[in-house]
Amino acid sequence: MHRFFLRLHERLQLIIIASIVGLCGGVGSVALNRSLAAVFEWLDTLRGSWYSFLFPAVGAALSSIFLNQIARDGGGHGVPEVIYSISQRGGLLRFRSSFSRLIACLLTIASGGSAGPEAPVVISGASIGSNIGTYFRLKDRQRVIVVGCGAAAAIASIFNAPVTGIVFTLEAILGEWTAVNLIPVAIASVVGTEISRILQGNQIPFQYHAVAISPWNLGACLGLAALTAMGSVALIRTLRFIHRHAPKMIPITWVSAAAGGVLVGVIGLGFPSVLGEGYDVIRCMIAENYSASLLVLGLTVLTKILATSLTIGSGGSGGLFAPCLVIGSFTGQFYHRALVTALPSVSWAGGGYFALLGMAGVISGVLQAPMTGVFLVAEITGSYHFLISVVLVAVISVTVSHFFEPVSVYHQELVSRGELIKPRTDRQILSHLNVLELLETDCQIIHPEMRLKDLVSMIQHSHRNYFPVEDSQSGEFLGMIHLDDIRAYLFDPYLHDTILVEQVMDRDVPRVSLEDDLAYIFEVFDKTHSWSLPVVRDGKFIGLISKATILDHYRKELLVNEEI
């Protein structure tokens, strides 16, 4: 079976694996969805009691204990880990990530924590993809695509939205649009969607009844876009603030998660709609069944931002997708209410319309992924007739929020650790090459007590300009002689006998080691204007690394990276 599989053409292999991954990812997300609904319903019976505000705390603490102590996986939303693995570890992910996140997020969300099930499903799908890829002995390049397939299937099946799955993966996870990526990802996405349709029926998540949209509404979109961008920036910054300060205030993770949970529970007493994933509220809003005052709507947006940041930032487990949609829909509703109050004579398109646009705006702004926002809203409502307004809001929201927060929420952690390496960039190639591959060992080693005459006769038979100097007894690396350093004495035969190597050698030549990465080595090259650097291990010279060789390898690396 294995052998037969390995004989197939690479693209066919990928398509087959993509379908398997799509299947697993789809099942995973349906399972999470079902269990979330079940647990939420079960807890609903107890929700009226006075102690219900403690639920989120208990849930968050349990989920944190489960993740850190039992499953030994990190908290937070986890998508950055997938992106990191794709960019640096060839898509390798732990197998336990495929279920640990699901359970942790079930505990967090079902108890009322303000987070979404999408990110855990994405990680789970990605991890399933990664492990299936490893099982079929895929190489790094293909495994990365299969990880993307898992993510696509998860998103596609949870929203019943195949195109969103594809677009989200290419835009936010893989970070590049190429035909090689597109085909398997699309197949996984389609399979994932179909699985969810078979298991729970083909239902449009949010039923929206189209209304006529007058040009006035398009104009109003501009204002909404600015507002959603503000919302996105506020969410990103609050989350970052809490994420940075929570561990300092309360060092024990599960206690800090519990503390966050208590605060969320308290907020929930005043604004119950911020608890949980919040899709019910959105459903009401889009069906135009939701009414609240301008003040309540505005406060709900702010408290939802706070509750989400508290839940995820303090160590709870869950994604940002659903909270973004809730924040977006409340922002849209708020904006609509404000418009109606200010200009009652204009016929506005209704709260549902603005809620949908708000969702697209916030998703796009937070993830820095406009196409994801556009397709998500179009697909979850099953309606394309307001596409112009959605594109407008998404694009402007991305532009404005990019001005304040240039890095997507998924990339921030990696950027701050200096680990974000985008595909097909100079940094990626440099990170692949390592010093050992570039080492030149055909150097002529000289000793400090040699006379210039001996060096000159060596130069006659050498094709290099650099000569490493070693201690003749201990073999310790002492310095280098560059032809330029001695050019002045070379043509004066009187000096040949009187000058010793140790008099002309450069003792404080910068050294690099085998472990240094190329980005650093280039920094040294730039600083010293030299063409070759000695590579030293344990005080001993082991070779040279030179710009010329790097160029040669760099070019070959570029050539093999080209997709044809």
Binding site: K139, D140, R141, H432, L436, E437, L438, H553, V560
Partner: protein, 225 residues
């Protein structure tokens, strides 16, 4: 089928790079019992597709010997040694030397003299101490298979506009098929001329046998180290 070592040679890359490419799935490979094998046809197709250079015969490229073989004595014997060469000017002595030199019949002697004079116009070949090494500007690829050095002791010293202003009493005319060979003989000749005993000997030299003997000795000391 090629193994990892063959592929490393074929691509002229370190093994570590090839291993990484295998892991990353950038190069077509077969795996059997923990070892890697490459299908030569697949590899060639892949290299063409990615525009990567494959060394076709993976022997190390024949490095051109940086020091061509051949000693001064041979080429000087080919060119001959002449005494009392007549002439008042540079052009006259060069012409005399060319006509004395045993050359293949297809060589246009006038043209050769012309080439030598062109070189003199660029700068004197009189290298000082009464010695000149006239030679054409470009190697004469078609005419010779090996270098020819003709030694002419002049009847009367001629002003060559040498670097040190001394009139030239001996010419070493060098005709070589390649630049490399020319430089090879030039460096050997200049080694000899650096020897002051040799230049003193040249002023007194009257017969070819003594001259060749002297050259043979000097070359022996050069090759001996």
């Amino acid at each position: 089928m090629l193994n990892l070592d063959d592929a490393t040679k074929l691509l002229s890359l370190p093994k570590a790079t090839i291993r990484r490419w295998i892991r990353q799935g950038k190069i077509p490979v077969h795996e059997a019992r923990g070892e890697y094998f490459f299908d030569k046809k697949d590899l060639e197709k892949w290299a063409r597709k990615h525009n990567i250079f494959l060394r076709t015969n993976y022997e190390k490229p024949q490095s051109h010997p940086s020091h061509p073989e051949g000693n001064l004595l041979e080429s000087m014997k080919r060119g001959g040694v002449f005494f009392h060469v007549k002439g008042e000017t540079v052009a006259e002595v060069l012409k005399q030397t060319v006509y004395l030199t045993p050359l293949p019949p297809e060589v246009d002697k006038e043209f050769l003299v012309d080439l030598l004079l062109q070189r003199e116009k660029l700068g004197s070949t009189g290298i000082g101490a009464g010695v000149a090494i006239p030679h054409p500007r470009y190697p004469l690829e078609k005419l010779f298979t090996s270098a020819v050095i003709t030694t002419s002791f002049l009847d009367k010293p001629v002003d060559f506009k040498a670097i040190d202003g001394q009139p030239v009493f001996v010419l070493f005319m060098m005709l070589s098929p390649t630049t490399k060979l020319h430089l090879h003989y030039l460096s050997r000749l200049s080694f000899c001329l650096r020897n002051q005993a040799f230049t003193a000997f040249l002023r007194k030299c009257t017969n070819p046998e003594a001259f060749f003997k002297e050259i043979k000795q000097l070359e022996a000391s050069l090759d001996g180290g």
